[in-house]
Each structure stands twice: as structure tokens, then as C-alpha cells.
């Protein structure tokens, strides 16, 4: 009875004395493109593993697509495609053979007849259809990454859980995967993408959750997080900064720098400038970046951990 694709309640995991995840309440609605952020070691991967029934929670509950994990895993996980902590495949077999074996491991009614077609479609989707019989051993890092995504796609999942999907991909690969994910999302697939690349998530996701030291410190819509800061960045065609200072008065927040002005977003700033005889090339509403949000909400970065911008 839930329209939440993923719901965790008080999810906690201890490995011996190490508290990996503490009291996490994750909410991913159906149709979301959910970005799961956090520095390395923040508990992202452990949480994802708990969602998939690989790691059993110390306490708390997990519901995925309306079923409990691990209790109803056999029912719900067939509708989930996943890539956890990098792709893995049998090195001496081709990508195609790997996908067929993996698909055959859990038979579904009628699945056998459509297996070839589904495997080909998944390979096609990630651009691996032409690779042929080459063993996975001989694949580049990017090809392996694509194969990992393809393997998550074979079952045409309702929920796609991807850990660092663009890791190791070249720019074309990143574009291909991003397009693919947007396309799948448009078809109704819920995405849960964990990443430490904020720009990627910012571009792709509608909603983010940020983990820090085992706690979920932020969970909100991207639009809400990226609310305007109340500042306007104006670029003039010429360098008549003196005139601009006069027109804007105290609305000018910082001393002008070249043709660029930082202005409080009050009243009709552009209109006033134009009426003052200035040519405005560009005026942009300043928004917080996800990086700002994450850095503001996560604790100081320890050695070895960090968030790339």
C-alpha cells in the first residue's frame, strides 16, 4: 500500500564495534531519481547492501517495492536491478555469456524464451552489442562498467539501484549512461544512484539523500535544496561599473569586478540597469550548489575521505 519504492525505518548496522549505519530513514518515492551522496566510508554502500538483502541489519526495517527485505526478497528483488560496488563478471567468459548465465540462475515464467532478446537489448542499451565474444578479462574499465549496468537492466527492473554508475567511463560513456538513465526514468523506472560525484547527481537527480558518518543528514528534493540565494549575478556588455554603482546603490553587494556585478535580487534590477542606459548581457539568479549543501551539512573531512566537486 505504499507508493514508496524504498523505505527504511531506523535502519542500523554494526559490524562488531564499528557503527556503520545509524538510524537511517530513507524514503525513495516511485519514479524518483534519487541521488545517494556521501563521502567514502559514510555508510552508503552498507545501506545499499541492506536494501538488497546482502547485509542483514542490526535493527530497523527495510521495505523495497512494498515488500520486506530480506523477508520478501524472493518476491521483490526480481524487480530490482542493481550494481553494487563496481561491476563483476566471470573473466574468461564474454559479457553476453555472463549475462545469460546470470539471467538463467533464477528462472522466471517464460523468461527462457525471451532471454536472448533481453540480453541483447541490455547490451544494446549500454553500447556493448558489438563487442562479440571477447572475454570480460580483456574489457576496459569502462566496458566492464557498462556491462555491470547492462546486467542490472536485463530484467527491465522497476527499481534500479546503481552504485557509482559512471565510475571509469569516458565522457561519451558518461553521456550515454546519463541519457539512458533519464530515458529509463521517463519510462517509469525509479532510480537510486549513489555517487560521490555531486555534479553528476545534481544533473541527474530529482531528490538527494546525504550520508555522513552513518547518519542520513540531508534528504530533500534537489529543487528545494537549490533555492535561490537572493543574489543576482549580472554581466554587463561594457565596463561601465561606475554607472552601475550609481543605478544600483546599496543593492550592489560586492564591489564590481570587471563587467560582473553581484546584486541583491530586489525589485527590477535588470530594468533599472537598462533604464540607466546600461547594456545587460546576462543576469543569473544565484542558487546554492549541491556542493555547498553537502559541505555545509557534512562534518569536516577526515583523511582519505572527501567529496569531489
Amino acid at each position: 500500500m505504499s507508493d514508496l519504492a524504498v523505505e527504511t525505518t531506523g535502519l542500523t548496522k554494526r559490524f562488531g564495534r564499528v557503527q556503520a549505519v545509524t538510524d537511517v530513514d530513507l524514503r525513495v518515492a516511485e519514479g524518483d531519481r534519487y541521488g545517494f551522496l556521501g563521502p567514502n566510508g559514510s555508510g552508503k554502500t552498507t545501506t545499499v547492501r541492506m536494501l538488497l538483502g546482502l547485509v542483514l541489519p542490526t535493527s530497523g526495517r527495510v521495505r523495497v517495492l512494498g515488500g520486506r527485505v530480506p523477508g520478501d526478497a524472493a518476491r521483490v528483488l526480481p524487480q530490482v536491478g542493481a550494481m553494487v560496488e563496481g561491476p563483476a563478471a566471470i573473466g574468461h567468459l564474454s559479457g553476453r555469456a555472463n549475462l545469460r548465465l546470470l539471467d538463467a540462475a533464477v528462472p522466471t515464467p517464460g523468461g527462457r524464451r525471451t532471454r536472448r532478446a533481453r540480453v541483447e537489448a541490455a547490451l544494446e542499451a549500454v553500447g556493448l552489442a558489438q563487442v562479440g565474444r571477447r572475454p570480460v578479462r580483456a574489457y576496459s574499465l569502462g566496458m566492464r562498467q557498462r556491462l555491470g549496468i547492462a546486467s542490472a537492466l536485463v530484467r527491465r527492473p522497476r527499481l534500479l539501484v546503481l552504485d557509482e554508475p559512471t565510475n571509469g567511463l569516458d565522457p561519451q560513456g558518461i553521456a550515454l549512461v546519463t541519457d539512458l538513465l533519464l530515458q529509463l526514468s521517463a519510462q517509469g523506472t525509479t532510480l537510486l544512484v549513489s555517487s560521490h560525484l555531486l555534479s553528476e547527481v545534481e544533473h541527474l537527480c530529482t531528490r538527494v539523500g546525504v550520508m555522513d558518518r552513518g547518519h542520513l543528514v540531508v534528504q530533500d528534493d534537489v529543487d528545494a535544496l537549490r533555492a535561490p540565494t537572493g543574489r543576482l549575478v549580472v554581466t554587463l556588455s561594457g565596463a561601465e561599473t561606475g554607472t552601475a554603482e550609481r543605478v544600483l546603490g546599496r543593492r550592489l553587494l560586492e564591489p564590481p569586478c570587471g563587467r560582473s556585478l553581484v546584486v541583491a535580487d530586489e525589485g527590477d534590477v535588470v530594468g533599472d540597469l537598462v533604464r540607466g542606459g546600461l547594456a545587460v548581457r546576462e543576469a543569473v539568479v544565484e542558487r546554492r550548489t549541491l556542493t555547498d549543501v553537502v559541505l555545509a551539512r557534512t562534518t569536516a573531512v577526515g583523511e582519505g575521505a572527501g567529496v569531489a566537486r
Binding site: 542483514l56 541489519p57 542490526t58 535493527s59 530497523g60 530480506p70 523477508g71
Partner: protein, 396 residues
């Protein structure tokens, strides 16, 4: 916070595994329970009846496997056959016993099999690894111990041979009941009497006799320091007539066929010209000395085996024993010097002496004897002195 459901499931699973394992190990260690034991004929039989049935068990047919082990390290003398292995190591046998005249005992090894077939008054031996069939050995008469002598019934009967059942019963105590090879058995402990006890190295012998059939199922002979002398017990036994097919002497194609090699004792019986006495060191002979060159003397649990050797073989054995560090026998108290060269070998409970009497009387050479038993050396000295001093009769 309450434990997650899968944690309880995990605990349950482990508990089930541990309990199952514990049950399995208990079952394996306690072995087959007593209720599987056959027979319940006479629960309160006296020791006397038990011994009488054991002594008369030669006619009880059976099929079974048995393990015997001895702690008697014999020196490896030539032509002793596999006696040293029989009394010094562990031997696994498989036997089909129809009667004393018709039986088969296989010595089982991990790489082959040595079979003995008794049929038609003859003994046929089969050695798989040598691919040799040995025919024509007499079933009775003088011989060295063989695997079939160490079967629990045969061993028990030979222990009881030195005394009448009444006599044996007077020195026996009941040991209660026990399950041997899945069958209910009554235990009897035999001890040497006071007089024998000074001379014997055996402290006691325990017999376990099948309640249903009287077949001895296990025998343990223990020496005075508590170590095993010889032990034999069935691993598995069925007291029914064996399948006659199993008793058929094989005729393997391509195998070498030999006639029986004369072992020391059988050879001695024909080669040694001297008769052994009917009494030795106060012990009666258990076989007729006129038919054999090897005679066991004894009462109760005391056993002394004497083999009359050809004199040059005796000298060889003497030299071999001396080379192995054996010293001479001490002369018996209050007696004359031993008029013979002797060498005493002791191994655990076993004492053995080679006695060579020089041929001083000009009647065609000396005499030589091998005297052995689970006895104190003093008894060997007495026996040696008697053999040396009493001039024997020539064999007719």
C-alpha cells in the same frame, strides 16, 4: 531494541545445527545400543556353565570379522612364517566357520588378502599379492600359530584347554554382561592360581561369551603390569552356518601352486629325532608328545611352548639371539649348572629361550629347543634344566 527477526532465525538455525551435531556424535560414540544385541536365553547362568559352553564352542558355526592384536614382539627368526606379525601386530580377519574341519579365514590387508581354507582334512593357503596357492598342509599336527588360532573362539578354547571346566570355574569370576559386536555377552575373568601366578606373566584373561550360542566373542589377556598380551574380538559376527560357496577353495588361473612349506614347528616334528617329555617343569603336555615335535605344556593360564629344533637350526637361532644382545638363562635355584648354551629373549610379557645341548654322548649330535611362553624366566630355566638333564628317548 528488539532483535530483528532474521537474528532470531539465525540463532535458531545455529542451535539446530549444534543440537543435530551433538546427537550425531553421541550416537556415533555410544555405538550400537544394547537393544540390538541378539539373544537373551539364560541371563543368570553361572560362570561354570558359561565356561563349559565356551569350551564346547568348536561346533558353533559362524561368519564374521574379527580383529586381534598382540603386544609380543618376537625376534624375526627365519621360517617363522607370519607368527611375529600375528602376535606382535594388529590383524584383521574374516572367517566362515562351519565346523572344525571346514572353515575359511582370510587375513585382510589394505592391499590384498591371505586366505586359509580348511577342507577335506587339508589346509590350503591363498596369497593374493604373491599370486600363490599353497596346498597340501595337514590340518592337524604340529605347527606354528596361524591367523585362525587368534579368533576369539579359538583363543578362548586354547586358554581353557589347560583345565577342566570345574577347575577353571574355581579360579574365575563373573564380569557381568556387555555388548560385543552387537551381541549380548557374558564376561568371565580367569586368573592363574597362586602357584601359577609366581611363574606366569599373565595377570588375567577376560572371556566374553555370546549368551545365545556360547561362542566366545572377545578375549583379552592382560599381563601383570596391566598391559595387553593379546586381545581378540569380533567386529561383527553372525552365528549361522556360512554360505558353502564362500568355503570353496579357489582355483585361480595363472597362479603359482606350491605344496606347503614346512614351517619351523612342522619341520621340527619330522626332522627332530627326539621325543619331548610328557611333563615339563611340573606342567602336563597338552598334546601327545609322540606325534609332534612341538608341544604346549600348561595348566590354567600358564602356557609353555617347546619346539624341538634340528641342532644346526638351533645354533643359528642362538647366534641370532646373541647377536641381538640376549644373555644366557640364569640357572634354576639349587640346581646344577645348565649343561647347555642358552639365550634368553624377553619382549613384554613374552619370554623365549633357545637351548642348545652339545652332542657330548656321541649319539649323532646334540639337541636344540625353543622354549617360550608368557611366563617368568625362572620357569624357562626349570624347563631348560629338565630338557638338558633328562636324556630323552629317540623317536620310534
Amino acid at each position: 531494541m528488539p532483535a530483528a527477526p532474521h537474528r532470531r532465525a539465525a540463532a535458531l538455525r545455529w542451535a539446530a545445527v549444534v543440537c543435530g551435531t551433538a546427537l550425531l556424535v553421541t550416537a556415533a560414540l555410544t555405538g550400537r545400543p544394547a537393544w540390538s544385541a541378539g539373544g537373551s536365553a539364560a541371563p543368570d547362568e553361572g560362570v561354570e556353565q558359561v565356561l563349559a559352553r565356551a569350551a564346547a564352542s568348536a561346533g558353533v558355526p559362524f561368519t564374521g570379522t574379527a580383529t586381534s592384536s598382540g603386544a609380543l614382539g618376537l625376534p624375526d627368526l627365519p621360517r617363522l612364517g607370519d607368527v611375529a606379525a600375528l602376535v606382535g601386530e594388529s590383524t584383521r580377519t574374516r572367517t566362515w566357520w562351519a565346523s572344525e574341519q571346514s572353515w575359511r579365514t582370510d587375513v585382510l590387508t589394505t592391499t590384498g588378502e591371505r586366505g586359509l581354507y580348511a577342507s577335506g582334512g587339508q589346509l590350503t593357503g591363498w596369497d593374493y599379492e604373491r599370486d600363490v596357492l599353497t596346498t597340501g598342509a595337514p590340518l592337524s599336527g604340529a605347527r606354528l600359530p596361524r591367523a585362525s588360532d587368534l579368533l576369539p573362539p579359538a583363543l578362548a578354547r586354547s586358554l581353557l584347554a589347560g583345565a577342566t571346566p570345574d577347575d577353571a570355574a574355581s579360579r574365575a569370576t563373573g564380569l557381568g554382561e556387555r555388548v560385543v559386536a552387537g551381541r549380548l555377552a557374558d564376561g568371565v575373568r580367569l586368573r592363574p592360581d597362586a602357584q601359577e601366578a609366581d611363574l606366569s606373566t599373565v595377570d588375567h584373561a577376560d572371556l566374553w561369551v555370546d549368551r545365545a550360542t556360547g561362542l566366545p566373542l572377545a578375549v583379552d589377556v592382560v599381563d601383570v603390569v596391566g598391559g595387553p598380551v593379546i586381545a581378540s574380538s569380533f567386529d561383527q559376527v553372525t552365528p549361522t552356518s556360512p554360505d558353502p560357496v564362500a568355503l570353496t577353495v579357489p582355483a585361480p588361473q595363472g597362479a603359482t601352486v606350491r605344496t606347503a612349506e614346512t614351517d619351523v614347528a612342522a619341520g621340527a616334528a619330522t626332522a627332530a629325532p627326539w621325543l619331548l617329555p610328557t611333563d615339563l617343569a611340573g606342567l602336563p603336555a597338552l598334546q601327545d608328545p609322540s606325534s609332534a615335535g612341538a608341544v604346549a605344556y600348561g595348566t590354567g593360564l600358564l602356557r609353555l611352548a617347546v619346539v624341538s629344533l634340528p641342532v644346526d637350526q638351533g645354533r643359528q637361532a642362538l647366534r641370532a639371539a646373541e647377536a641381538a644382545g640376549a644373555g644366557p638363562l640364569e640357572p634354576p635355584a639349587g640346581d646344577l649348572d645348565l649343561q647347555a648354551r642358552t639365550a634368553l629373549v624377553r619382549a613384554g610379557a613374552l619370554s623365549a629361550a633357545v637351548v642348545v645341548v652339545p652332542g657330548a654322548r656321541g649319539d649323532g649330535g646334540g639337541r636344540a629347543y625353543l622354549v617360550s611362553g608368557a611366563v617368568q624366566p625362572e620357569l624357562l630355566s626349570r624347563a631348560a634344566a629338565e630338557l638338558t638333564t633328562d636324556p630323552p628317548e629317540r623317536r620310534p
